[in-house]
Amino acid sequence: MTAFILRRLWQMLPTLLGVILLTFFLFNFVGGDPAYLLAGKISSPEQIANIRTQLGIDQPVYVQLWIFIKQVMSADFGVSWSTNEQVSQIIATRIGPSLTVLVPILIIETVLSVALALGVAYVRGSLTDRSIMIVCTIAMSVSLLVYIIVGQYALAYKLGWFPVQGWGESFSENLLRFSALPILLGVAVGIAPNTRLYRTFFLDEINQDYVRTARAKGLSENTVMLKHVLRNALIPIITNLMIYLPGLLIGHFLIERFFSIPGIGREVILAVERSDFPVIKAITIYVAIATMFANLLADVLYKLVDPRVQLK
């Protein structure tokens, strides 16, 4: 196990280096000269040159790259171009609100869609199964923007069941008052695609030989589904969840934006709108690292659930 984790950490290094190179390339070459962006439309050549020196982009490329790597290593990305706040400070304060919304969405959505998927897999091929699948397809076809716009308008603005937006200081108020509608909408958006996906996982398992053996033992259909099929289908479900976890951090940015939740996702949007490169760069690198660790965690969990997996 330790050897496996060490090997995986070792294998992360080239990927991390690649992410750094990609980010560096993107922000220093694709986008043109950042100095012009920062200086604005009207500025004298002296001002530009001044900013170039400040940013260090008058240096040779390898020096700039080295500076960037040092920034990554020391987790110090300088200050935001638009607010002058420390980038590390920005990220540290935005994680909490994001998780307050994200974790409940993830848990509720997963439990509900696993239950629903197991149910429709149980009655596979029936009218119920087909109707639910068609409803899921239609539900997936409506843009998540519409869910949020209409949900916020109808449930908060018109009916007044929830606050339209806002964020407070106390965790319980944030979770129970301000996050309730965002969580509800997040679950509503995620449940259809997940149910469809998990249903295919269950159907894959139902056709396996060991399910036939379980039936040949005389087990009831409930035991077959809840014990044998569910346990096996959990493997792809867990893998799937872990891999998409860091993506969700960003994925719910629309919810954060609409409900003015000061999270990572909203911060990304703001930074993109303001061309605030240090913030985008930092978030990109951190989320990439988080993704790599989530993948490692997925592999370890995989080992715990599936005895066949050899962690060498």
Partner: protein, 575 residues
């Protein structure tokens, strides 16, 4: 008659299972119904072993699933006038809950592939315990103690330790023993075994057959044994039901079926498989019996095979090694030595048989000669030139001269190519024939030679049966006029009657074109029939080489002796 069979004089002949007029059809799509069983009837008496024998599509497995009530609910339907009486109660009319009480307790089943039939996520002990807790009402600790005892009974060493193992940690034979332990856990009255040894090596097959037969006698169970292999059935069954295309062709005692078969199809089946004690010029095929009375006298004449001092060497392999490497640990790697220092000579116009069990490295040898795998060490000299030292360009002219016919006829033909494309592509690459018109002509000649109609040319592989596809694969190999053909389990996936036809074809082609064959197979009877010399491999090494009659008459190496001893012999007349 073997010790495995029931002594008829001692058996009480009251019926346990009675299948009457069983009709099962499958809905393939909206407009097509496929009649898998067309009204079959047979009976199983208490403590008796009845075998259902037939080729693929005969409906033998569907019959067993119907008895278990495990037919797929969504597309299978059983005709309302069918009956399956088990101890006087009609299983087709039981409600689902009562049927579940039958399964695992009164009737239990073992399947063909033990690896996939066991749940990979539960320890084997808990999977056995599950059935005990369900039907015997045992608590957790009682059930797991009993599971260990059962594992001991089915011959698993260190059962206490093994009960905590997961299926993937066991060998195929051990997995099948676990399945058997699970099946006998509740002392059922009827045990259904659906091809339980087909996925296993011949030596393991022998152990499993003996185990099941002894357990059957000890527990006084009746058994329904489903198999395609008459030789196995002849050893274990008391009665044999021969099936074909959803119908029963013949039903009789094992002795009658083997010694005095009434049905033409039964007779053909018995003779299609190459016998160990004779080598007729041609093997019998179904048509011989369906049309007339059997193969012509001249085809029954035994032929002599073997090496002679006049043979000219064509391919000389010396010190061939092949290692496969796997990454392991932080920087480590594991090396699997699949082929270890193998040397042999293949002579012009002769057949060298290569036998071994799974993992013996026999197929790797063939693929390495083709350079489909890169050899780790050794030399392969073809007409004196080392193939392994050649660049791909230098090898091109030699590539044409060594061809291969694979095991799986469904995988070896590109499904997106027409048969014409499949046959003409090699000719285009090797510039055989001046233009496509000429190549088409050549292809049609080849198709005719392997017994396929000219219409085949424009069709796609999916329209043909396994045997027909294998003929097309042979035609493709022939299109390059090779000197050597490597047959890598080329007839193993085929039904026994089709296998005989393909073996006859291969023999005819060798006589006509004087090709050399390297014939790789796990089936000792087939190898003995077709080969001049036989090479036995075990765990990557050659253990014995000799003329084929010699090796079967007096095997020298203990491994070879064990292998030969394990071949099922079929029905032996009581002395």
């Amino acid at each position: 008659m073997t010790l495995l069979q029931t002594d008829n004089t001692m058996t009480r002949h009251d019926t346990l299972l009675s299948v009457r007029n069983l009709r099962v059809s499958f809905r393939l799509d909206k407009h097509t119904l496929f009649d898998a069983l067309k009204g079959i009837s047979f009976e199983v008496a208490r403590e008796q072993t009845v075998a259902l024998v037939g080729e693929s599509g005969s409906g033998k497995s569907v019959s067993s699933l119907a008895v278990m009530g495990l037919l797929p609910k969504d597309n299978a339907s059983v005709s309302p006038d069918s009956e399956i009486l088990f101890a006087g109660c009609d299983l087709l009319r039981l409600d689902p809950a009562a049927m579940r009480q039958m399964r695992g307790r009164e009737i239990s089943m073992i399947f063909q592939d033990p690896m996939t039939s066991l749940n990979p996520l539960f320890s084997v002990g808990s999977q056995i315990a599950e059935v005990l807790r369900l039907h015997k009402g045992m608590n957790r600790s009682e059930a797991s103690r009993r599971a260990i005892a059962l594992l001991d009974e089915v011959g698993i060493s260190d059962p206490g330790q093994r009960a905590t193992s997961y299926p993937h940690q066991l060998s195929g034979g051990q997995q099948q023993r676990v399945m058997i332990a699970m099946a006998i856990a509740c002392e059922p009255k009827l045990l259904i075994a659906d091809e339980p040894t087909t996925a296993l090596d011949v030596t393991i097959q022998k152990q499993i057959i003996e185990l099941v037969a002894n357990l059957r006698r000890k527990h006084g169970m009746a058994m329904l044994w489903i198999s395609h292999d008459l030789a196995v059935v002849g050893e274990i069954a008391d009665r044999v039901v021969v099936m074909r295309s959803g119908e029963v062709r013949e039903n009789g005692s094992t002795q009658d079926i083997f010694e005095n078969p009434q049905d033409a199809y039964t007779r053909a089946l018995l003779l299609c498989h190459p016998p160990l004690d004779a080598r007729p010029r041609r093997l019998a095929v179904i048509d011989d019996y369906v049309d007339g009375t059997g193969p012509s006298a001249e085809n029954r004449i035994n032929v002599q095979r073997g090496s002679s001092p006049n043979d000219t060497p064509l391919l000389e392999v010396t010190g061939l090694c092949k290692n496969f490497e796997f990454r392991e640990g932080l920087f480590g790697k594991r090396v699997l030595r699949a082929v270890k220092d193998v040397s042999f000579t293949l002579h012009r116009g002769k057949t060298l048989g290569l036998v071994g069990e799974s993992g013996s490295g026999k197929s790797t040898v063939g693929l390495t000669i083709m350079r489909l795998h890169q050899a780790t060490a050794g030399e392969i000299r073809f007409e004196g030139k080392n193939l392994l030292a050649m660049s791909p360009r230098e090898q091109m002219p030699f590539k044409r001269r060594i061809q291969i016919i694979f095991q799986n006829p469904y995988a070896s033909l590109n499904p997106r190519f027409t048969v014409g494309d499949i046959l003409m592509e090699p000719m285009r690459i090797h510039r055989i024939g001046a233009n496509d018109a000429e190549r088409e002509k050549l292809s049609l000649t080849l198709l005719d030679r392997v017994g396929m109609p000219a219409l085949t040319f424009r069709k796609y592989p999916h329209e043909f049966s396994g045997g027909q596809r294998q003929r097309i694969a042979i035609a493709r190999a022939l299109s390059m006029q090779p000197d050597i053909v490597i047959c890598d389990e080329s007839v193993s996936a085929l039904d026994v009657s089709v296998q005989a036809q393909v073996l006859n074809l291969l023999q005819d082609l060798q006589d006509e074109f004087k090709m050399s064959y390297l014939f790789i197979s796990h089936d000792l009877a087939v190898v003995k029939y077709i080969s001049d010399r036989v090479m036995v491999m075990n765990q990557g090494e050659v253990v014995e080489v000799a003329d084929s009659d010699e090796i079967y008459r007096s095997p020298q190496h203990p491994y070879t002796q064990n292998l030969l001893h394990s071949i099922p012999r079929g029905w032996q007349h009581p002395q």
